[in-house]
Symmetry: C2
DNA sequence: AATTGTGATTTGGTATACCAATTTTGTCTT
DNA sequence: AAGACAAAATTGGTATACCAAATCACAATT
């Protein structure tokens, strides 16, 4: 039986064209507001049909790099650097990311403590129960972990904080370094400690103790950091460039 | 002479098609991984050519909502809700945003204090000098303000913190509420106080006093918040829905 | 000389036709 | 009946042709 596989599909052509156009823009001296070459010009330049160039333009337009105006032309809307600065953050190192999460999530916990609702507290309790029960199933545990952290952010009733926390959490997805660490975490059971950390955070939230919650969340992420540090120490070479600025507190 | 105008251009059709498709997805009971109707089906459904549907698909693909596979079909990749949660953050209220910035940027200041370089301190001093000199020119002052805050984030040497700070700062762009407030700020000169706030932050950073820097930055954003609160109070009705959870610290 | 109007040109917008990869179907072989 | 192979149908990929809006050039008008 042939398995339905389709991972290594050749990338869609319009993406290649789009990237090529980006390179052209990078090489040129165009400034924001300048007019780009027309679709037809690019089509001839790359030796493809205008349709493809058009699709590439749509890609750049959605990325907010350009703006296209009928009958007039397409124009640079943002600098290339400002965009890729945001894009390339995704492959940041685990420690750098955890450092940031420690700073921000402890503040979020402190921020949530005074305003958290009974309903949210119950929700956190439920998540903890799931964590206790499903400790073995890695996927469940992970999902619950995420729920726990983000639910606290939601309890602040501040959209921006929730968005920031979500963004930071999802940053680890797609980073190969995290996957390696993650595989090693599955064996050993640091989950027990982390579960205990979560309990301590919830206790402080129940007491509506802002500084207590801050401390508890700080300590939790400190423990995670230390764990990852040990694990990476065991089999270190992969982490060149990721090890730096240790906690300074 | 005819001015080159082109603001009220009818929105590109592919966007309408794309939004329509999103609605169709929302109405349906499709789950992640499910297969979407084919391009041809949508083309007939909406009474347009397949080209347009295809462009709409590209839009959805770049938004990471779907994944398209040649010869097979297109598939739901993410839930609609998770995406729009991120997208709609852009029009968040000024107070909600400032609240988040107060939490996060004060932590960033504390984080920067122990590790800030002499070079970065000098850079901050230079920015302050510019702020003092160009106090009157609103654009310059604004730019310097941004530089000051983001330079501190950069001084943490943590990419994620810098990215987060940048993201928060730029959130106010495009929000009409900010523009109204901003117009009113230009008249009065709260800039003096804010400039003084900045000085106090820099003093603490020089002393490498983490908690001092945290406090100084906190107070600075507290002052900004209070100022905006007064201004919005003067001419209040616009702010329905933006006034809520006042600082709880 | 400045302005206006009109037609040609440029540019993006849309539709149709055909190509290639994938999946499905059905038949043949074992 | 099971498996393998091939033909056919499905689906996205690409190219070409034509349409409509915006712009530009230039002459006619004032």
């Amino acid at each position: 039986m042939k398995v339905t596989k389709n991972p290594p599909m050749a990338e869609r052509l319009y993406r290649e064209i789009g990237e090529s156009i980006k390179q052209e823009i990078a090489k040129s001296t165009m400034k924001i507001g300048d007019k780009l070459p027309t679709e037809r010009v690019y089509a001839e330049l790359f030796g493809v049909s205008r349709t493809l160039v058009r699709e590439a333009f749509i890609m750049l337009e959605i990325e907010e790099l350009i703006e296209v105006r009928k009958g007039s032309g397409s124009y640079l809307k943002n600098s290339l650097s400002s965009l890729q600065a945001i894009a390339q953050v995704s492959d940041v190192g685990p420690f750098e990311l955890l450092q940031a999460r420690q700073e921000i999530e402890s503040s979020i916990a402190a921020c949530a403590a005074p305003v958290i609702t009974k309903h949210d507290l119950q929700k956190l309790q439920d998540i903890l129960d799931i964590e206790s029960a499903e400790l073995e199933i890695v996927e469940k545990a992970n999902s619950a972990d995420r729920d726990f952290h983000l639910s606290i952010a939601q309890a602040t009733q501040n959209t921006v904080l929730l968005d920031t926390a979500t963004r930071l959490w999802d940053m680890k997805d797609g980073n190969p370094m995290w996957k390696k660490l993650h595989a090693r975490i599955q064996d050993t059971s640091y989950h027990d400690q982390w579960l205990d950390d979560h309990r301590k955070v919830l206790v402080q939230l129940r007491k509506r103790n802002a500084e207590g919650a801050r401390q508890a969340m700080w300590q939790h992420l400190e423990n995670v950091k230390q764990t990852l540090f040990k694990l990476s120490d065991t089999e270190a070479p992969d982490f060149d460039g990721y090890l730096f600025a240790q906690p300074h507190n």
